[in-house]
Symmetry: C2
Subunit: 392 residues, 2 copies
C-alpha cells in the first residue's frame, strides 16, 4: 500500500535554514529592518525547522525573531525546549507557559532590545493572508514597551521568501501529491452507490495514511444529482445514488508539506451537462498548464483559464480564484485571479483550480498541482482522467 | 471496528444556538457591549453551527457579529455562502474573497454601523489563549473606520460562555473519548518491538478513523530507554526496543469536538523507576478525581495532584500545568495550575494531566478526560490501567 517511490528524506540540512535566513536578511537590509518578529506556525518552522503538531493547542504563543545578522532566536514555552534543542538554533529562551500575567512578552522585549538597533524598525506580517498568533492585548503591551521602534508590515517580505520553493521542499510536496494521486486512482474500487459521503471519505483518508501520508488535515466532499453546490463543506451522511456527482478535495501532508487537489466522480450515469462542464474545466486546466511559465503574471494564468470557462458556459465562480500557492500551508500566495500581478518564477508551486457554476447551484471544479519550471511546468499531481470515472 | 455505542446525533438543534446567543447577550448587557466581533473558527462555529475544514486555508478572513439582540450576523467569503445558508443564521453578507484591497472590512464596518449604538463599545477577544484571525493591518483599518467606538477585551466573556458545556456537547466529547479509549486498548495487539514510533502512530491513527473518529488533528509520540523527554514532538522513525517507554497522546474529533488524553506503554520490561513514576502519576490522577468538584478552584485541583507528584519524587514539570479545558479545541481554559482561580462548575470538561520529570530528561505524564458533575466527576476516557501495558 505504500506509495511506490521511496519517500524523500525528512527534515532539511542546516544549509537550507542558513539559506532561508540569509535570503531574509538580504531583504531585511533592503527594507531597513533590524528584526523580523514571527508568531505563526509556518513562519516559525520555515526558519527553525521546528515541526510539531502542538500548534493545535491555542493556549501558548510561540515567537521567532530573525535578527539582521546571525541565527534566528526562539522565544518559546518551556514545553518546547526539548524539541527546539534538536533544531539548528542556538539561542532558545523559554518561560514556564502558560503564564497569562506574562506569556513571553517580557522575554520578547528583552530579546528585541538586545539586538543591534540600526533602523529602529521591526517587521511583523500584517498584510493579506496573515494573522498575529498571540493575544492582541499582549501585542499592544509589546508595542508599548518598545517606544521609538516602528513596527511595519513584513507580509510582502515573508511572502516573497516562501513563495519560491527549494528542490527539497518540492520533493516533499511531490511525495504528498503522489500518495494522493494513487489514493484517488484506487477510490473507485472502494466506493459504490449506497455509501455515504462520510463513508467514502473515511475510506480515502485511511488509504492516504496507509500509503504514507503523515496527516490529512483537509478532506471534504460535495455531492448531488448532476452536480454539487459547495467545495468546502462535508463530508455529510448523504448517500450517493445513480446520477450523482461527487467531488472530493484533499490536503494530505508529508513532512509538513501539503498536496491540494480534487477529483470528480460520477455515480451510475453522467448527464450531458455535467460531462460538458467536466470537459470545460479539464480544457481550462490545459490552458493553465500552457500559460504557467516564468515571467507570466498570476492574473494572466487566471485569464487563460477563465477564457475557456466562459466559452464553456461558466455562469460565475464563487471560489474567487482559479488556483493558488501551496506548500507548508494548504493555500498560500499567490492567487490566480484578476488583480494578482505576482510574476511566476521557477520553483513556485501552485494549484490550477478552474471552477465554474454551470447551472444554478451546480459547480464543477478541477484541480492539479504544479511547479513552475523553465519551460513547461512540472505536474506534481497525476493528471486527472479526461472523463470522470463512473462508479457503479 | 465501529465504537460500540451508537454515535450521538450530529449538529445541534436551533435551540442550542438560541441559548448560546441569549447567554452571550446577557453577559454583553452586563458589560455594556453593543456587539461582539469574532474571527476564530471555534467562536464562529459556537454561535453559527458552521462546521467546515476550510479554516485550514489561511487565505480568507471570516467574521461573526453577535449583536445586543437578535441572531448573529455572518460576514464571510462568498465561497462559504452555500454552507452558511444551511445554518440557523438569517443575515449572511458575503464578498468575493480573496480581495486584498478590501477583504470584508467594508462589509464589516457597514454591519457594525448598522447596529443600534447604546454603549459605543464592541468586544473583541484579546486576552490569554486568544488571537485575532484577520490581517493586523485590516484590523487597524477597521478601528480607524469606527471612530468613537471603544473596542474592549471580550476574552473573559467568551471564555465563561464556552467553558461550561451542554449535554449535547458532552455527548460528542464522550464519543470521541470512547473511540480513543477503544483504540488505545487495542494498541498492544498492533504494536511490537522493532516498529518505529511513526509506524505505531500510523496504525493507531487508522484505527481511530476506522472506529469512527472524524479526524485526528493531534497524535504525537515520545519514547526512549526508561523514559521520554517530550510530549509534544514526534512521532519519529525511532525504533522501539526492549526497555523503552512510549507515550502516545491523541486529540481525535467527533463532530468538531475533541478528546485529549495519552497512554504509556512499556516495551520488554519496565524498570523500577519508571514503574514508580507511573504509579505516582496514576495516584496523582486519583487525587485530581477526588478534588475536582463544583465550587473548587482549578488551582486547588492542581495542588491536590502536585502534592502526590512531589511526594513521589517529581523534579519539576515543564508542561506548565496539570490539566486544562477541552471541547471544540484540543486545549481550552481553564488551566490546572497555580494562579488559575477559575471555580469549577458542573458541565465543565477538563483533562487531568499530572506529569513530572522523574529523572533528568525523563518525563512521565498521565491524562484522563472528565466532566465536572454535582458530586463525583464523570470519566469520559476509560481509566488507564494501573500498570503500564507491556508490549513484547
Amino acid at each position: 500500500m505504500e506509495a511506490q517511490s521511496e519517500p524523500p528524506q525528512r527534515g532539511f540540512p542546516v544549509s537550507e535554514f542558513e539559506e532561508r535566513t540569509a535570503r531574509a536578511q538580504r531583504l531585511m537590509a533592503e527594507t531597513s529592518l533590524d528584526a523580523l518578529l514571527l508568531t505563526t506556525e509556518p513562519e516559525f518552522r520555515y526558519f527553525s525547522g521546528f515541526l510539531s503538531q502542538f500548534w493545535e493547542s491555542p493556549t501558548r504563543p510561540w515567537f521567532l525573531i530573525v535578527p539582521a545578522a546571525g541565527k534566528p532566536i526562539a522565544v518559546a514555552p518551556e514545553i518546547g525546549a526539548a524539541g527546539l534543542d534538536a533544531t539548528w538554533l542556538d539561542d532558545i529562551r523559554t518561560w514556564p507557559a502558560p503564564r497569562p500575567a506574562d506569556d513571553g512578552v517580557g522575554l520578547l522585549v528583552d530579546a528585541l532590545k538586545g539586538l543591534a538597533t540600526v533602523h529602529g524598525r521591526i517587521g511583523v506580517p500584517m498584510g493579506a493572508e496573515t494573522h498575529l498568533r498571540m493575544p492582541l492585548g499582549d501585542y499592544t503591551r509589546l508595542r508599548d514597551r518598545l517606544p521609538g521602534t516602528d513596527i511595519i508590515d513584513a507580509a510582502p517580505l515573508v511572502r516573497s521568501l516562501r513563495m519560491t520553493k527549494s528542490e527539497r521542499e518540492i520533493d516533499k510536496i511531490r511525495h504528498a501529491c503522489l500518495i494522493a494521486s494513487d489514493a484517488f486512482a484506487a477510490l473507485p474500487e472502494q466506493a459504490r452507490t449506497g455509501m455515504s459521503e462520510r463513508e467514502i471519505c473515511r475510506a480515502l483518508k485511511i488509504d492516504l495514511l496507509a500509503r504514507g501520508a503523515d496527516a490529512v488535515p483537509y478532506l471534504i466532499a460535495g455531492s448531488g444529482p448532476g452536480g454539487y453546490d459547495s467545495i468546502i463543506m462535508g463530508p455529510t451522511d448523504r448517500t450517493l445514488a445513480g446520477g450523482d456527482l461527487l467531488i472530493i478535495d484533499t490536503g494530505a501532508t508529508f513532512d509538513g508539506y501539503f498536496c491540494d487537489f480534487d477529483r470528480n466522480f460520477a455515480f451510475g450515469e453522467i448527464d450531458g451537462d455535467a460531462r460538458r462542464a467536466h470537459d470545460t474545466v479539464y480544457r481550462a486546466t490545459e490552458a493553465g498548464l500552457a500559460a504557467a511559465r516564468p515571467g507570466v503574471a498570476a492574473e494572466a494564468v487566471w485569464q487563460a483559464m477563465w477564457t475557456v470557462l466562459e466559452a464553456g458556459g461558466a455562469k460565475g465562480n464563487d471560489v474567487g480564484r482559479s488556483g493558488h500557492g501551496l506548500g507548508m500551508q494548504l493555500t498560500e500566495p499567490p492567487s490566480l485571479m484578476p488583480s494578482d500581478e505576482t510574476v511566476l518564477e521557477a520553483g513556485m508551486v501552485i494549484t490550477l483550480e478552474p471552477g465554474m457554476t454551470f447551472q444554478p447551484g451546480k459547480l464543477m471544479v478541477h484541480e492539479e498541482n504544479i511547479v513552475i519550471r523553465d519551460g513547461k511546468p512540472e505536474l506534481l499531481s497525476r493528471r486527472a482522467p479526461t472523463e470522470m470515472p463512473v462508479i457503479g
